[in-house]
Amino acid sequence: MRALRALSAFALLLPALALLPALAPSERAGVAVTANVTYTLVGRFLLANPSNSTVRDFVYVPLPQNTTFQRSYVVSMDPPPLRYAVDEDGNVYAIVQVEAGPGAKLWVRVEYRVSVAGYRLESAPRAWPPLETVRKYTRSSGYWNVYNGTLIDLAYRVAYADAPYDAARKLAEWAVNRVKYRVQFSRLGSDHAVARSPLDYAIVGDCVEVADVYVTMARILGIPARTAYGLLLTGREGRMWLNMSTAAEEGDRLIEHWGGHMWPQVYFVGVGWVDVDMLDGMQANVGIYSERHIVFGFEETKYFGSALSSVCVPSYLTVQYAEYEYRGGSP
């Protein structure tokens, strides 16, 4: 359910240190909070300079975002960030400047404090959103081709409904029962993630493909949809790691020690963005969200998704190894 690319990404609460007392995520009408956990999350990324000359490089570090169900801030970053910036979809990230001699290696270390609320949707929203919201979040893109005839036929056959919640739910039920999980090292996009088997269709790939297919089909049905990316933790405390030189060789075993993740969200009037993480327990979780998620960003409008869904993005250097350690407790 996680993949190498979906790994990482995150958001920050700029110097929101002053907001510490208000760290607990806020509640929302129609939603019941099921758990609250505050994590200390430490990320370490090993970068190498493969060239024969000294390189001064900018490294882009995704940060845990602030959402209705998540509050976060950067405790420390080494080297310190040069600047915080925001991408087109509103995701905050840090830019770090480093210098590495020929063949040299260096570490980037970040520590975050993240409060996450698990929740459950208490009602089934029925109203459709305003036109501008629909226009913005149902567009076609490189990975979400809403003009794919097969997906159009499938979406209308399996999930067309009068109310957005009903359609989202039917779609999740259809999708979760057709996942043929396989860690994928390049993003297929929904066009290439749905395969026809003798009796039915299957979604082949990992969390990214499942999310791409769901978002595409939801958009085909007129439901505003996007992806969220970040980490899916296995518990309150643990460590996850990724060695780039062995990742491809590991294949599906990668998920035994790595929790990079991507999942869909749909927009309901009166509630807002609601998570649909079908791979967390392999259920049609429309509006059922565990506190083991840490959101590093969203893909909404970008045609080719976001490069910030990677752990750490250097320009000239290469990432050799990444790890996160986390420890959660009561807020």
Binding site: N52, S53, A127, L131
Partner: protein, 355 residues
């Protein structure tokens, strides 16, 4: 006259990310010329090189790899002018090898530009009146945003040098986003040149106010010719049937505006297909229904909700009513008939003098 244009895309080139392909980077220069008819001639100049700055121009393997990336580069080019390239009108892309062109790039990220001779050039004319990044202002005056689509796709990528020319289109004003990025390095009477040595100082958007005599805003063209077949209200839900009588399939937006709110749903309609859309919690005495496709308003109709409610069962209710009425008439007729017959039948039995 500047010979080289200039946009350099200093990113980890696409090819470098694909392990099956040769490992190289691509210097990418753009030249954008705004014309008087409201279109823009876009030229992308590529020059492949190794990580240590050695030119790979003419290398057969790299050339094959570059050729296979043309469609991707074309898409990036269109994404500079629209977030919906499918609906952006443009001439077919021309891909050629030009020996006389020069492409520049900061090869080693040292803050100085190196020149490469020769370029693979991808060019097309883009019709800005169909761009989702164009905002009409007044007659032939409009604002156009040119996005650094490379930064948009990959945050570590940027356009190092970009030249905008104004030939027939008059530059009224310009700005860039975000504001902390650097402005143009050169400002000429009919051109602007940006030189960005790193991503943080490169704008994400270049924004121009232009006056082009031939400009007429169109917006995103419609995909289907959809129409409203019926609308029925049951006191809370508004049921709308939208039909596509045309020969092409595509998306339409059905929108209802009512007292205190609006709702919209996007539906796909195949040729000849119709689909029912349900809007819950619609309130008030009346509502306005609209159908769009692309940016075009195809139909707008007022709906008297009170009347729609009264007429909500026109077909299912009348037959039972008629049947009931007929049955009642029949029963009454039978009753009267039987009473009459009884009266007639009873008469002979009447004994004279009785009653």
């Amino acid at each position: 006259m500047r010979q080289v244009a200039a946009l350099i895309f200093c990113a980890v080139a696409f090819a470098a990310l694909a392990t099956a392909q040769p490992n190289y980077w691509v210097a990418l220069n753009y030249r954008v010329t705004f014309l008087g008819d409201g279109s823009a001639l876009v030229e992308a100049l590529f020059h492949p090189f190794t990580t240590d700055g050695r030119s790979l121009f003419g290398d057969p393997e790299v050339e094959r790899s570059m050729n296979s990336s043309v469609a991707g580069f074309a898409n990036y080019t269109l994404l500079m002018f629209s977030d919906n390239p499918r609906l952006l009108k443009h001439t077919p892309f021309l891909y050629e090898k030009r020996l006389h062109e020069t492409v520049v790039c900061d090869v080693a990220n040292t803050g100085s530009l190196s020149e490469f001779k020769g370029a693979y050039v991808l060019s097309a004319r883009v019709y800005l009146n169909t761009s989702s990044y164009v905002k009409p202002l007044n007659g032939s005056t409009f604002e156009v945003k040119v996005r650094d689509s490379f930064t948009s796709v990959d945050v570590r990528s940027w356009i190092d040098v970009i030249e905008f020319r104004f030939e027939g289109a008059k530059l009224v004003g310009y700005r860039w986003e975000p504001p902390f990025a650097r402005g143009p390095a050169e400002v000429g009477s009919n051109y602007l040149l940006w030189v960005n040595f790193n991503e943080p100082q490169a704008p994400d958007f270049y924004v121009f106010t232009l006056e082009a005599p031939g400009f007429a805003y169109v917006g995103e063209p419609p995909e289907v010719n959809a129409t409203i077949s019926s609308a029925e209200y049951d006191g809370s839900q508004l049921r709308v049937v939208v039909a596509n009588p045309g020969p092409a399939g595509g998306y339409a937006y059905v929108r209802v505006i009512y007292e205190g709110g609006e709702q919209a749903r996007k539906v796909y309609l195949k040729p000849g297909e119709s689909r029912e859309v349900v809007f819950p919690s619609v309130q008030g005495a009346s509502a306005v229904l609209e159908v769009y496709s692309g940016d075009s308003l195809l139909e707008k109709r007022s709906v008297d909700l009170a009347a729609a409610q009264r007429e909500r069962f026109p077909v299912p209710l009348y037959p039972p009513l008629i049947a009931l009425s007929l049955a009642a008439v029949a029963v009454a007729a039978c009753y009267l008939l039987r009473r009459g017959r009884r009266a007639v039948e009873a008469a002979p039995r009447q004994e004279p003098g009785t009653v």
